[in-house]
Each structure stands twice: as C-alpha cells, then as structure tokens.
C-alpha cells in the first residue's frame, strides 16, 4: 500500500520498501526526490509536454534490477502491494515516464548485456545496451545494427519490443520489429516467458515457435509501449556493411564528419516535382541498387549542414545554403551506395545516375565536407539532435506505411497540416511546412513521418503542435495515405473496427495478462473499456474530426500536456 503525500505524490509503504530492498539491495531502491526528478523530466521529445519542467506525475520509487529474475520479483512485489510499474530502458524522451502516481519505475540500466555473434550476424542484448554501443561492437565485425530515428542513444531492445522501430536506413537494415529474434519477457504478473529458440534454451536466433508466432500477441506495429510487462533480453539481427572497424571521423561536434569508405558514394538527387520523384523511386527500388534512400525536408538538411541556428538563418537570408537545403528542392533523395567491389560500385553508381537523369532529375553538387557530414549522420542516425535544434520541442505525425504511390500525397498532406502555423505569425516554429521525412523499407514500401516543431515554453505553440498531431488523424480518416503507425491509446478506438479490430484484440491480450492493469502506460490500448464504450467510440469520429472540437482538445493538451 502507498500513502499520499500531496498532489500526485505517494510514498512507498515500509513493508513494500523492505521487500524491494530484500530483492535488490537497499542501494538499488530509492524514493529520494533528487534522484527521482531525473525520471520525471518533461523533455517533450515525442510528446506534447505541459509548461512545467517536470511531469505532474512522479514515480513512487525507482528500482534498478540487474537480472530478469529480479525484474520478475519486483513485478510480483508490485502486485502484492497494489502498486503499478513502468519499465524504463534508456529513457529517451518523456515516453518512459510513469503515468500513475502509484507506479514504480523499473530502471533497467544495470541490464546492459551485449554479445555479438558475428558468424550468425546477430547480437543478444539487454534493455540498456544502446544502439551506439551495439553499433560500435558490431562494426568490429563488419556489421551494423538498425538505429531508429531516435538516434544512437536509444535502446534497440525497447524499439524492437515496445515502440515503432523504424529508422532512416530501413532500406537495408529493415526495422526493429522485424529484426527482433528470440525474446524474454516478464509478464505483468511476474512470470518469466521466453519466445522462439530461447524457450528451449537453444539460443536467441529464432523468433517464433514451436508452433504459432505468439510474439504477435505482444508486438504489432506499435509495440507494447510499456503496457504489457517488461522485456528483458532479445536476439537482434545485424547487417553486413562494407567497412570493418571504427568509422574514420573528422571535425568536431556538432559538425562531426566521416570519411566515406572505398566503393561508397553519397549522392543527392533533385527532381522537378514529386511525381517525377515517385516515378524514379519505383525504379530506384528495383535490383537493390541503393543501400539507403532518404528524403529529408530541405530545412532539415540545412540544420544539419550548418553549425548553429544563427548560421542557418543567416545563410537562408543570404541564399547561400547548398542546393539540397533550398526550400524549392523538396523533391529529392539523398542516396547512399555502399558496395564491396569496384565492379559492383560502378554498376550501382551508373545505374542510379541513369535513373535520376531519365526521370528529369539532376544531382546537387556537394562539397566534400557536406558529403562527409551527411554520411556520418546516415551511418549513425544522429539526425534527431539536429532536427530538435530548431525549436527544442518536436513530435511526429503520420507514420504511414504503404506504396510509394502515396509519396506526393504524403508531402502535400503534411504541408497542409502545418501550413498555417509554420508561416510567419503562426504558433509553430517559423519556417517551411515541408517536414515530411520519407524512406523505403526493404526495397518495397514507404515510411512517411511528418515532424512538428513547436516552442515547448509557449502554451499557444504547444497547442498548435497538438492540433497538427491530432488533426492528422482526422485528415487520415477522411483520405488515408496508408496504414498509420502512430495510432496509440484512445485514438485507436476512435479509428474503430476499420483498422482490423486491433484495439479490441489488444485489449483482450491486456486483460488476459494484466487484468489489474499493473503495467501502466498511455502508449497502449485503454484497458478494461466497457463494451458499450468500445462500440460507441468509432461513431464519434465525426465529432473528433470537427475543427472546433480539435481546437478545444488541442488547447487542453497545450495546457496540460499529453
């Protein structure tokens, strides 16, 4: 049981504390406000924060288990004492914060297992092995990992099990929901369950079986989001690259660059319009000719190529930004070609150039430093800090996956959502409404993600960010550009049975494994929803699509955060 000490703060009962200390040792249990403040930091990354520096809800305590068995014991202890819990891996953004005042934060930073199995191009990792560490170790063997958009500080285990898992190199490194191999999971009741070959103590290579691919109960497009227990270890697929060992970096942060390895080229193709880019894309996806394709908004390229915001603004006004960073050059691909032999590279390079020219495009002239800077960010996915630099507050929308048929429309709809408030005098970060990041997955389909920049210190700006975020769901209901990956929480239910009854089914899964909702989060379905409400919510779509309702909800979110 817990006692209330004030608004949104509870204290741990002596009995619960004693049991946790017995499980973990006193050193690894704390409710010291000075330490816990680090777990209530309202960064706003990936979410709309409130105006406060700290979230309104703090954990009742923070615990640091070192083993799966300790995690299971902590979860069982929570159950005995009527407490909730929230797993926390590397804590990127504020999505890892607890969402109820009776929640224990299970900080998994002591579980940083990292083992590379180079011959089988895979690794075995714990929740606190970061992408940066994994990539550094993998590179020693000529391999790399998939780094999601959040960048090298993220936990690949968390992205594979619990969040979306996409990143800019998905053309050749897939996405982490598909890179996850065998898995280990502590249920919300404290059972330890392993999946695939790990359940038979036969290693961490096979994700499914014996029999059904039951991982699909726990991990769909979005992932568990902390709402379905704690994932503690996984096997993860790695990807061969054309360089072994450390990257050869030059320059200084933030303009760190990397020298391109042999048989590698970084090209920036510009097209006359999005139709031409789409037509070229279908050709560029044949024959596995490109290693990476990334469409960045021109402003974002500008933020990457300039050292400071002041330089970016000055060069924008001077008109001295390089061609890829000029706003009229949005129809573009940055293309990485990484080959192993001279003949291979010649074929790839000439083929790419031929396709681009054939579709009316041309190549921007990049200085060597610019090329190396873009390559470094490609290889390490360091883009997020660059994109954050403009405003300090970002969230993301769309998250669509479908055919590249939708490329022009994705850009158009993204701009439509941001046009008013990104214009001078608008409430969002002033600049271009073109914020759509686009890249292919596995040589087949498109991911499109529309970034929203807002001033985290301004309520009006936060409200405008919220409007762009929730407004895009309404726009997608009316005219979808693909399956939407960011459908999380109540928005899934409003979207309704047309998305395949997924929320209702996920709720069944939640009830089956966590009937008391101990594994508490906002990044999962709403648990224990009465069937009547489940039925009514989709009928309210016209209400939620109404501009007045959207504005009222956005104002509320801008004030209180989400």
């Amino acid at each position: 049981m817990a006692a209330k000490t004030g608004r949104h703060r509870l204290t741990l009962s002596p009995q619960a504390r004693s049991e946790l200390e017995t499980i973990l040792g006193a050193r690894y249990v704390t409710d010291d406000p000075a330490l816990m403040s680090g777990y209530a930091w309202n960064t706003g990354v990936g979410k709309i924060p409130s105006g406060d520096k700290f979230t309104s809800i703090w954990p009742i305590a923070v615990v640091l288990p070192a083993t799966t068995e300790e995690v299971a014991a902590v979860v069982k202890c929570c159950k005995r004492h009527g407490l909730s819990f929230r797993p926390h891996s590397t804590g990127y953004g504020s999505m890892g914060c607890v969402t109820s005042p009776d929640s224990i934060c299970i900080d998994l930073r002591r579980m940083d297992h990292l083992e590379i199995l180079p011959d089988d191009r895979m690794a075995v990792i714990g929740p606190y092995a970061t992408a940066n560490q994994l990539q550094a170790e993998a590179r020693k063997h000529g391999l790399t990992c998939h780094v999601v958009g959040a960048g090298p500080a993220h936990s690949p285990l968390a992205s594979a099990t619990s969040l979306i898992g996409v990143g800019i190199t998905s053309q050749f490194t897939s996405a982490n929901m598909r890179n996850m191999l065998a898995w280990e999971w502590v249920t919300p009741e404290g059972e330890i369950i392993r999946g695939g070959s790990a359940a038979s103590d036969l290693g961490w290579y096979a994700s499914d079986g014996p029999g059904p691919g039951t991982r699909g109960l726990l991990r769909g497009f979005f992932g568990g989001g902390g709402g379905i227990g704690v994932f503690t270890r996984i096997g993860i697929k790695l990807f061969p690259i054309n360089q072994k060992g450390e990257m050869q970096t030059v320059g200084q942060v933030p303009q760190l660059r990397s020298v391109l390895p042999a048989h590698t080229a970084l090209l920036h193709a510009l097209f006359p319009d999005y139709e031409a880019q789409r037509a070229a894309t279908f050709d560029l996806l044949q024959d596995d000719v490109c290693t990476v394709l990334l469409r960045m908004p021109p402003n974002h390229i500008g933020w990457t190529l300039t050292e400071t915001n002041a330089e970016f603004v000055r060069r924008t006004r001077d008109g001295t930004l390089p061609e890829p960073a000029q706003l009229h050059n949005g129809a573009s691909w940055t293309i990485l070609i990484a080959s192993r032999s001279a003949a291979e590279h010649r074929w790839r390079d000439e083929t790419v150039r031929d396709i681009v020219i054939r579709h009316g495009g041309h190549f921007a002239v990049l200085q060597q430093e610019e090329e190396e800077l873009l390559y470094h960010n490609f290889a390490t996915s360091q883009y997020v800090p660059r994109v954050l630099r403009a405003s300090g507050g970002i969230t993301t929308s769309f998250g669509v996956l479908d055919s590249f048929h939708f490329l022009p429309k994705a850009v158009e709809m993204g701009e439509m959502m941001l046009a008013k408030d990104s214009a001078p005098g608008g409430a969002l970060c002033e600049g271009s409404p073109d914020e759509q990041w686009i890249w292919p997955h596995e040589g087949r389909y498109m991911w499109g993600e529309n970034i929203i920049h807002f001033d985290a210190t301004s309520e009006a700006s936060r409200a405008a960010g919220a409007l762009a975020l929730i407004g895009h769901f309404a726009a997608q209901w009316k005219d979808p550009v693909g399956m939407t990956g960011l459908l999380v929480g109540p928005i899934q239910d409003v979207t309704g049975p047309r998305i395949g009854k997924a929320p209702a089914f996920a709720r069944k899964v939640k009830t089956y494994f966590d009937k008391d909702d101990r594994s508490k989060t906002k990044e999962y379905v709403i648990p224990n929803m009465p069937p009547l409400v489940e039925k009514i919510l989709p009928a309210l779509r016209p209400v939620f699509s109404n501009q007045m309702v959207l504005r009222a909800m956005s104002k509320m979110l801008g004030k209180n955060g989400m």
Partner: protein, 477 residues
C-alpha cells in the same frame, strides 16, 4: 447431430470424408462428418460462426493432392473440414510494387502462370508439389529458397484477412484501412506491410498454428519480378564447411537470389536422378542463382558472378556449371516446376523428413552428430539427404534431413531416434510436425505451452479450430 450451415456447398459422402481421415504420413484418424467448400471469405466466416454456435471442430484445408504431416487430419470425432481449395482468385497483382493478393486456394502449380501476365512470380519453397496452397505454405513458415529477400519469418506476407477462431474478420497489417478492398486498391493502397495494426500482429500469431487459431481467407504476398537475366551455378566441395562458408558470405552480401546447400543425396533427388547416381555427385553443393531484373541486368549478373567466384575461391569451393549432364540453369528451371508427386517420394515411393532450425555457424557440428548416430543404427545403409536453407538473410538456417524409402519400410522408430538425437544436439523444432510433434516441446521451459494456451484462449475461445493440434493443447484439455 446439428445441421450444416446453410448456403455453403457441402459433401457428406463417405469417400470424400474418408479421404480427409488420413494423409501421406499419419495413420487413419476419425473421418470428418462433412467437408464444406466456402467460396469466399464471407462464407468462411459464416462457417466459423456456425462452428462456434454448434461447438463443431473445424479443420481448415487449402491444398489438394497427397497431404502430409498430419495437420489436416482430425484429432477429434465429429469435425468438419473447411476446404478452401476452390478459392483460387487472384484479386490483384502489381509489378510496380511487386505484390499480389491471392485467395487461400491458389497453389504452387498455378501461381506462376497466374502472375506471369503481370511480370511477376511467386517466392517458393524447395520444389513444392503442385497442389500445395501458397498461403498454407507461407502460413506454416515453410522456408522459401530466396534467402536474400527473406528478412523475417513473416515473409513473404503483406496484409492479410483472417477469420479468427472466434468468428471475427480481422484485417491485418496494412490491409487494415478505410473502405472495402476494392476501394483501397483503387486509392492506390497495396497492403505491403504484414505487422500490426496497433499493438498486435495476428498474421504472425496465425503462422505456425497449423489451423488451430483461425483461417486466412486472402493475403497480399510479396512477389519476385520476372528476371531479364538469370544465371545459376553449382559451388561444390567434398566437405560441408567450404560450401557453408561460401553460402553464408554470399547470402550476407546479398549476391544471390536462390541460395541453399544440399548434399549429394538431396541433390540427386532434386535433379531427378536414381539414388545410385548420387555417389557420382559432389559430396556437398551450394546452389546459387543470380538475377538481373530491370537495370543493366547483364552487367549486374556479371559483377555478382565475379564476386561469387571470388567468394568460392576464398572458401575452397569449386564452381561447376553442369553436374552429371544437368546444368545449374536447368535445375533452376526445375525448381520452378511443381510436380504432382513430391520429389522426395520419387526414388522409392515414400520418405521420412526431419526439419528444424539451427544457427548456420554450428550446423556442421549438428550434421556430424547426426551422421554418427546414423552410422551406428539400423539406417546406416540407407540414403539420407541434407538440405540447408539460410533464413532471415542468413541469420539462421532451416536444416532438413530426408530419407527416401519404400512404402513398406519399417523405419519409423529409427527415424524418431534420429530426431531425438538431433534434439539433444540442439535442433529447434519450430514447426512441430511428424516426429517433432511432441519432441518440439520437450525442451520447452513452459513458455511455449503458456503462450499457445493464451493464443488459443484469445483467438479461439470455444476451441473449434483444429482441436488438440499441439500436444500442449492436449494437456490444456
């Protein structure tokens, strides 16, 4: 006895029912009380809803011809077979996105003909028989031979439509969109994503479930463009290590489309040779195909060939274009044919199979243990083939042992002994068929049983779908 659902074609004649009481591997089980033939997914749903109302066990079947592995033979009395083999529509095909949407009854004997006008062909397992349903094969995670595009065990599925055991129609992956399928296709959606939507992935759950959780009515499947240039090679050696190392590197570098390793017995079967001819073949062969689809295809295949030669030389494998008069290109063509009779039955009329997953890095050790076991047992004089298929782009392998034998040969106990020895040596029976039906769960720490129980409770609460398919379900009762 309850009446059958109205409006669904049914057959209750004894010969038809009895045909489903046995297959090519399992002995006779209880005959179903009827065979139903739904013609579309809505009729499938009607059947499943009826089964829930009447508590009737359903056995979904999509393939025709001689079935094997026992997963379509009822394990309970009074079951009804749902035969989807008549659902053979190609709903959509699109060369630009290399994807097609097919119904459950489309089989490997017909799919390439159906797709050819669209410039596409299907990803195939190793020489499937003609009547094998494409969707049933993918649902069973049967390995495809195209290692370069096998990113994940869910491949080659895109979005799907499933009727859960509870009778609900679920649209999965990127099929979960506004509007009817026709409207979605007209808008330009191509159902290219298999996972999701939201927090679950029911396609993945249904894979490997052997009809025990639901029925897939249609699916979007990734396809291969018809290549403009295709070139195949045999890379040979007298030890497995050379060809395994070469294959692993080639697959990791993605310079082959088709890639697998076989021993001489397996290769003889694939080439359609007498077993006696196997001795004249190389002990081990890595079969590789390289393809150019659109862009300067000759040049693409040329550099890939050059790189493959370099890989082969480094690992000590020799290149052959022809073996015993059959060219590698001819074998590639043969692999795209679907014989009416399983190629493994051709030498002696019947065969035993054993397949499991294993890391490629240690597969040779596994083979050594199996060979030692075979040498000392009653099977010592019999030919036993080996097929090693890299999966997930060479992260691990499907390992298959095949023993052709006469229909009357009494080899069951000795084959099971090999399966047991393999389990002890680390075989992961991810697809519990045949002798592995119970062995697959012997090493389970309880997790698989727990999760299968959960999946069954959540998708098929009335337990109407292929009851007792898994031994751990028998325990659940």
């Amino acid at each position: 006895m309850t009446a059958l659902p109205r409006g669904i074609k049914a057959d209750i004649t004894a010969p038809v029912r009895d045909a489903f009481a046995r297959d090519g591997e399992v002995g006779t089980g209880p005959a179903p009380r009827a065979v139903l033939y739904p013609s579309n997914i809505h009729e499938v749903r009607k059947v499943v809803v009826w089964a829930n109302e009447t508590r009737t066990a359903l056995i979904p079947v999509s393939s025709t011809g001689l079935r094997r592995r026992g997963d379509t033979v009822p394990l309970t009395d009074g079951a009804v077979v749902v035969d989807l083999s008549g659902m053979t529509k190609l709903i959509h095909a699109d060369p630009r996105d290399k994807i097609a949407i097919i119904e459950a009854g489309v089989d490997f004997g017909s799919i390439d003909e159906i797709l050819r006008p669209h410039g596409l062909r299907a990803f195939r397992p190793l020489m499937p028989r003609a009547g094998k349903s494409v969707i049933a094969s993918y649902l069973d995670r049967e390995p495809i031979i195209n290692a370069d595009v096998h990113w994940d065990p869910a491949d080659p599925f895109g979005g799907t439509a499933i009727i859960s055991g509870g009778g609900e129609l679920t649209l999965n992956g990127s099929a979960a969109l506004e509007g009817t399928l026709k409207e979605q296709l007209e808008r330009g959606h191509r159902h290219m994503v298999t996972f999701g939507p939201g927090n679950v992935d029911l396609t993945r759950v249904l894979q490997g479930s052997q009809g025990s959780l639901g029925v897939m009515g249609w699916a979007a499947i990734y396809c291969e463009r018809l290549p403009k240039v295709e070139d195949s090679l045999f890379l040979c050696s007298e030890t497995p290590s050379a060809v395994l190392a070469a294959m692993r590197e080639a697959v990791h570098r993605r310079i082959c489309t088709t890639a697998f390793v076989v021993d001489r017995v397996q290769l003889a079967m694939l080439l359609g040779l007498e077993m006696d001819a196997a001795a004249m073949l190389p002990a081990w062969t890595f079969f590789a195909t390289q393809a150019g689809y659109v862009h300067a295809p000759e040049r693409k295949v040329a550099w890939q060939r050059s790189d493959l030669e370099e890989v082969a030389a480094r690992h000590g494998a020799r290149l052959e274009k022809t073996l015993l008069g059959t060219s590698a290109d001819a074998l590639a063509d043969r692999l795209r044919q679907s014989p009416r009779v399983c190629y493994r039955d051709v030498p002696f009329g019947a065969h035993k199979e054993l397949f499991f997953l294993h890391p490629i890095s240690s597969v040779e050790r596994m083979l050594d243990i199996q060979e030692a076991h075979l040498r000392t047992g009653a099977l010592a004089a019999r030919p036993v083939g080996t097929y090693i298929q890299p999966l997930a782009q060479g992260t691990f392998a499907h390992v298959e042992r095949v023993m052709p034998h006469g229909p009357d040969a009494d080899v069951g106990a000795d084959w099971r002994s090999l399966a047991e020895a393999s389990l002890r040596a680390g075989a992961f029976y991810s697809r519990p068929h045949g002798v592995a039906r119970d062995l697959a769960f012997l090493r389970d720490d309880g997790s698989a049983a727990r999760m299968i129980g959960a999946a069954k409770a959540l998708l098929d609460p009335c337990n109407v779908m292929n009851p007792n398919r898994f031994v751990v379900q028998e325990a659940i009762g």
